[in-house]
């Protein structure tokens, strides 16, 4: 199963990379979402997959009985999902505000911070 998810994550990485190089902030934000999911999937897969068994100790045992899912990547991914949401919110609002202020969604058109480079590079 892990090799299959490795391929899936690879495809997601490719899609994310493609979207992040588009000339539209909206596409870039979508790319960011895909990238976050790809990374989460990678972490989760690399921790090893266990079908069905969760990382919860059945009452009244004091240690897991039999197979249990690796809890460590789960903990990492859980916070990563929530932080990914925070970042998405930030990126979306940034895109929205730059549309309001700069009247463009084209990252190549956003040269307020580095205007000189625009003149000289072109």
């Amino acid at each position: 199963m892990e090799p299959l998810l490795a391929v899936v994550a690879g495809i997601l990485f490719a899609i994310a990379a493609y979207l992040l190089t588009r000339r539209s902030i909206v596409k870039m934000v979508i790319g960011l979402v895909v990238l976050g999911n790809a990374a989460n999937l990678t972490l989760f897969t690399m921790g090893g997959l266990t079908r069905g068994a969760s990382a919860i100790i059945p009452y009244p045992e004091t240690a897991p009985v039999g197979d249990y899912a690796n809890p460590l990547p789960q903990a990492l991914v859980l916070t990563a999902i929530v932080i990914g949401f925070g970042m998405l919110a930030f990126a979306l609002v940034l895109a929205y505000r730059s549309w309001q202020e700069l009247d463009t969604l084209d990252p190549d058109g956003m040269r307020v911070a580095e205007p000189i480079a625009t003149e000289e590079d072109k």
Binding site: S54, I56, Y59, T79, V82, F85, G86, A89, V93, Y96
Partner: protein, 139 residues
């Protein structure tokens, strides 16, 4: 905001249930799926739903506190939970537990619960702040 009677009726019921459920998730998180993050997301979804059905002003009033205040309190709770360990002469954030015997059952209260409440409040504050602010944007 959508002025839909069906939506509003269901929302009234659903929001209450979701908020109760979120507290339940927060409480049982230490032993079963749930916890501060998940509980907070459920609660945030409830407030977002309310904001869609009744408008942000109404949602803000049922939340009672400014989301920023919630974030601040959340971080204070989470940070302070670690101080108990420090006070007991152990490293920062060491969990301490209090065992209360009530008849047959054993109630265990620990600093990780305080920490989880901190997580809960911070995440609610953050998500709700973002969604409310965006809904208040001018169309």
């Amino acid at each position: 905001m959508m002025r839909s009677l069906i939506l509003q009726t269901f929302t009234r019921l659903l929001v209450t249930l979701m908020l109760l459920f979120s507290l339940f998730l927060l409480w049982r998180g230490h032993n079963l799926p749930g916890g501060g993050f998940i509980g907070a997301l459920v609660a945030s979804a409830a407030f977002a739903l309310h904001a869609i059905a009744f408008g942000v002003a109404s949602a803000r009033s049922i939340l009672r506190y400014d989301p920023r205040t919630l974030m601040a309190w959340g971080m204070i709770f989470a940070g302070a939970a670690g101080l108990f360990g420090l006070a007991a002469g152990k490293p920062y954030m060491t969990g301490l537990w209090l065992e209360i015997h009530i008849g047959e059952s054993l109630l265990k209260l620990g600093t990780p619960l305080i920490f989880d409440i901190g997580v809960f409040l911070t995440v609610i504050g953050m998500v709700v702040a973002v969604i409310f602010s965006l809904e208040e944007e001018e169309f």
